[in-house]
Symmetry: C2
Subunit: 228 residues, 2 copies
């Protein structure tokens, strides 16, 4: 269960404001969004929405990192996507969630009940427009990932993921935002295979690991080549 805390800095002072869904809202819609949502925090590992449960909450991420996951009965798990600062989570206009939403790092969100959000969206066409743009982007991303899952080899998958990490990180020293297990769950591989492919990339001098949680791209063309 998400724990509810007082959360002094609301939208006006929100760090995620520039990238958030709400940034595309008019002042009126922003004010209304601010009014209907409430702030929550999630601890690392805490789950906000469970797969196959009724979707009760939707909202915007102020800070932190969440994963969307689907699982099979025997425990196999696939990460379907990550959501960070400014991303919208939850499934409006539907009853059940087809995935779980869990915090990978402590997170703060502004959330609201699904049906209240739906009324809000109905009242502000610009909100639905902003949601549509995000949904279409997410759909493109999910589909690009389907190509990786369906057709790329383990080596290509790991190289592709490192390139994604690099694209989201400014410097030359890049932090893994995920553990090896989480990388494996995102890539549809086992943790051992991810580890072995990282070792291969190190030996090929395409990357180097400064410590276990940071890497540097030593030969970008080679890495891109391996990503196919």
């Amino acid at each position: 269960m998400p724990s509810v805390l007082p959360f002094p800095p609301r939208c006006s002072g929100c760090a995620a404001r520039s990238r958030a869904v709400c940034s595309a809202f008019s002042p009126e819609a922003s004010a209304e969004f601010d009014r209907i949502t409430r702030p929550i925090t999630l601890a690392r590992g805490e789950t906000m929405v469970w797969e196959d449960d009724e979707t009760l909450l939707v909202g915007s991420i102020a800070s932190g990192l969440l994963k969307l996951t689907a699982s099979l009965a025997d425990g196999r798990e696939q990460i379907l996507g990550l959501a960070g600062e400014g991303d919208f989570v939850g499934r409006p206009f539907g009853t059940r969630s087809s995935y779980s939403v869990t915090a990978l790092a402590p997170a703060r969100l502004c959330v609201v009940g699904r049906s209240a959000f739906e009324s809000f969206a109905a009242a502000f066409p610009e909100v639905e427009h902003a949601l549509l743009l995000r949904a279409l982007d997410e759909l493109d991303r999910a589909r690009r990932w389907m190509l990786l899952l369906g057709r790329k080899s383990a080596g290509e998958r790991v190289a592709s993921l490192l390139i994604e990490f690099a694209a989201r990180s400014p410097g030359t020293e890049i932090a893994f935002p995920l553990t090896r297990q989480q990388m494996a769950d995102l890539l549809g591989l086992t943790i051992e295979t991810v580890s072995r492919e990282l070792t291969k990339l190190r030996h090929a001098e395409a990357i180097s690991l400064t410590d276990l949680r940071h890497f540097r791209i030593e030969d970008e063309p080679a890495l891109r080549q391996r990503a196919a």
Copy 2:
């Protein structure tokens, strides 16, 4: 290149009307949609949108079956989704398409240039609402497929696909809407593996093949079991 033909039965007589995006439009929006779109036909194998090309056209499918595909440089291909009667295709609010759209069966569509459609959508909030609902559904479907591609075995994938086919087909005698190669491209497998898994299901008496293009589910619990 899509060939433009006169297409007498417009929206009012369209067979796809009941399931189509346009069915959610108001009479005014419907009339406007009818006015701005033009009918086209696609022959089997004809491609309407190419991966990485500028998206020029969007539209609604009146009849036929299309595939959305992404490819790697060496020719490996993944089917990202299928679109049939009533589905919306194309990527509004973006410049490049991240996938190709190709007809698997002769198709008729009502299409319009992307920017003209965007103006239309901006004028009718209900249109954006309808698009949003479809985009969210597509996103759920894409994500469920990611679980299959990332975590299911070949046997589980084939069984899952047969269950999907059955769900879309009314009778007990179910037609494969795809060739084995297309099934393989959808499942992230090779054609040989698909064929072998079908043989296994036959020998296990979970299904039977009447001819190469039709099957019957003989033991649904067993089939669901194998789909995991």
